[in-house]
């Protein structure tokens, strides 16, 4: 059945690069393959005229919806850890669609567990080099004008295993799932900094969380005044506890650790505090043994999610390659895809709204002829920054350094349709 459909569609296919990549306009007909498969199979052998769902009343209304039972297998990837609250869980990117991460699947990175905070007693202190130090309660912040923005958050350790000597065989989410995207609603940090009155010699703001790690990061005042937000809502509902309830800092395009969760204190200072996280952890060791400090901006990046490790191809035919792209600088300008290991490239279609500092979905049709293929994606952002090849990226950093890894990732498909992670 599938082969017949494919033959029909082939007439209007326009090949734009090696390895079977088709013009991004050529999406028509793809659904026919799926529809053909369905028409021939399910339901044909069922005895009654209609399915059970049409012959008896359905379930009751509910106060808070749940997922379809078959979708409950979509879970964050949670590792086994010596201390269960210290570490990270990853978003299973390859099992999701679109660009918005459901709140229950947003990646987590905690340094000593998820605190249980009573919003009625929690206070945010803004002090230091200010004219009037102020305390804000959760209810106080709810009274401020709000803004909502769709933004990604990416841990700077995301995709860090690409620094490993041999490619790690794991799913796209396992390798890259320390990035998520949500609509965040909150109060402009600049509004609150206006109210405390920042001194002329202030250059940094140290943010501190009310968790058991007392997480602290020094953030440039320029970033705080640019587009930083104190987020109160995530995809329309109050922040989840694991995302910083009742309030978190949100720094668009900046490494996730600096968007301090469970925010309790902002200290306006002249020079950075040089805390443990910003010196010994989230600093980038270079090949010469020195290290970059305050490498805060996340680089331009893309990953292919389908096909990817764990999502093998059942056979030759027409497919859609799709994935996600993002940049801490701004909007994605284009994503190019290669199916022949980087020899030739074709431009993918960008789906939906292409927003600054948010995830962007890309798709390109592809005819897999059943031979070996190596898939790569390369994003370019609106500042002209181009996602680097792995060898360029690795050359800059010291061995074992995995922060800010935005190198191009490659998937190899063998004749059986099995997908593996390779360095191309």
């Amino acid at each position: 059945m599938e082969n017949e459909t494919v033959t029909v569609n082939r007439e209007r296919e326009e090949h734009v690069a090696g390895g079977g990549l088709l013009h991004r306009r050529a999406f028509l007909g793809m659904s026919a393959v799926a529809a053909g498969g369905l028409a021939s199979g399910l339901g044909a052998a069922t005895d009654p005229r209609s399915p059970v769902s049409m012959r008896e009343p359905g379930g009751a209304l509910s106060g808070y919806g749940t997922r379809a039972p078959s979708a409950e297998i979509i879970q964050r990837i949670v590792p086994e850890l010596p201390f269960p609250g210290t570490g990270s869980s990853r978003t299973p990117l390859q099992l999701l669609e679109g660009t918005i991460t459901p709140n229950g699947l947003h990646f987590e990175r905690h340094h000593n567990g998820v605190p249980a905070i009573d919003p009625a007693t929690h206070e945010l202190l803004i002090h230091g080099l200010v004219r009037q130090p102020l305390l804000f309660r959760y209810d106080d912040l709810l009274r401020y004008p709000r803004e909502n923005r769709i933004l990604f958050i990416e841990c700077s350790g995301n995709s860090g295993t690409i620094a490993a000597a041999a490619p790690v065989q794991a799913s796209a989410g396992q390798l890259n799932g320390l990035v998520s995207c949500a609509e965040w609603t909150g109060v402009r940090l600049g509004t609150l900094l206006d109210e405390v009155g920042v001194d002329l010699d202030a250059r940094w703001v140290q943010a501190e969380g009310a968790d058991a790690a007392g997480m602290t990061r020094s953030i440039p005042l320029s970033i705080c005044l640019d587009d930083a937000m104190i987020a109160l809502f995530q995809n329309g509902e109050p922040l989840r506890p694991e995302q910083g309830f009742p309030m978190r800092l949100l720094l668009p395009g900046i490494e996730g650790n600096a968007s301090v969760k469970w925010l309790r204190r902002l200290k306006v200072i002249a020079t950075p505090a040089l805390s443990r996280e910003e010196t010994s952890k989230y600093s980038d060791l270079l090949a010469d043994g020195r290290a970059e400090l305050f490498s805060l901006r996340m680089g331009v990046k893309s990953i292919i999610l389908f096909p990817s490790f764990g999502l093998d191809l059942p056979g030759p035919g027409r497919r859609e390659i799709s994935g996600l792209a993002w940049s801490g600088h701004g909007r994605i300008r284009k994503v190019e895809v290669s199916a022949d290991g980087g020899t030739t490239w074709a431009e993918a279609a960008l789906g939906g709204s292409v927003l600054p500092k948010a995830l962007t979905r890309f798709r390109i049709p592809w005819r897999w002829d059943g031979g070996p293929a190596t898939l790569l994606s390369r994003a370019v952002d609106d500042t002209g920054a181009v996602q680097p090849r792995r060898k360029e990226w690795v050359a800059k950093y010291g061995i074992g350094q995995g922060y800010h890894s935005n190198a191009i990732q490659s998937w190899r498909i063998d004749e059986s349709g099995h997908v593996s992670h390779v360095y191309a």
Binding site: P82, H111, L125, H127, Q132, P133, L134, F136, D140, R143, R149, G190, T191, D194, E195, G197, L200, R203, Q206, P220, S222, L225, D226, D227, G253, R265, K267, I269, T271, P272, A273, L274, S275, R276, T279, S280, S283, G289, R290, A291, L293, F294, S295, L296, R297, G299, V300, G328, H329, G330, R331, D382, T383, G384, A385, P388, G398, I399, G400, N406
Partner: protein, 205 residues
């Protein structure tokens, strides 16, 4: 706001404009739902120890005292002498950063000893953060740094001596403050990332 206060505020605003585009002042007509914070509240909440030692509390601790504290409260996770445990390695590795096997420890990598005090006091031990006394924390810093001979075996640290410790990797860092906080490959040939912001600094000032 009285006329008098308004006049002062307006003057401050002019001063801000005249001196720096970065500085901000409380001259706007925002909602003002914050509550003034007293020095006592700030003193209770402010845990920050700055790199120059500002914020270090009274008291002192010795290598010997720290060794006992470490054995009782830290070694179970970090291993004896700070290596070989399930938690981060703390000692050794000095001089290894440019090698084929860089070992990042407190001794080999951390640029400031003040950071050890700040972090240990606020976050350690993992099972009971903020349970250590200031004297215990001074002793732990002294002990940890004695393992790699960064301080003498008979050292005693306090608010005056701790910030003066010369950590081996003190000059090993390059701040990206002058590179728009962006170390990504391919990003240095572009204009500063301002285009994506929905509001630039200048608009508000």
């Amino acid at each position: 706001m009285s006329m008098h206060k308004r006049a002062i505020a307006a003057c401050c605003g002019l001063l801000v404009l005249a001196c720096s585009g970065k500085a901000r002042d409380a001259t706007n007509d925002g909602p003002h739902h914050g509550r003034p914070a007293s020095p006592a509240v700030i003193g209770r909440m402010d845990l920050t120890i700055a790199a120059d030692g500002v914020g270090l509390p009274p008291g002192s601790g010795s290598v010997e005292e720290g060794r006992a504290t470490f054995a009782a409260k830290c070694a179970a996770c970090h291993g004896s002498e700070g290596t070989g445990g399930i938690a981060d390695r703390l000692t050794g590795g000095v001089g290894s950063l440019a090698s084929a096997k860089p070992v990042r420890t407190v001794a080999s990598y951390w640029p400031y000893a003040t950071t050890i005090f700040d972090y240990v006091r606020r976050a350690m031990p993992l099972t009971a953060p903020q349970s250590l006394t200031d004297v215990e924390v001074y002793g732990l810093v002294a002990y940890l740094l004695s393992v790699d001979r960064i301080v003498r075996p008979d050292a005693r640290l306090d608010a005056a001596s701790l910030p003066k410790i010369a950590m081996p990797n003190r000059n090993g860092f390059i701040s990206l403050e002058t590179h728009d906080f962006d170390g990504n490959i391919g990003s240095d040939r572009k204009a500063p990332p301002r285009g994506a912001s929905s509001r630039s600094q200048g608009e508000k000032n």
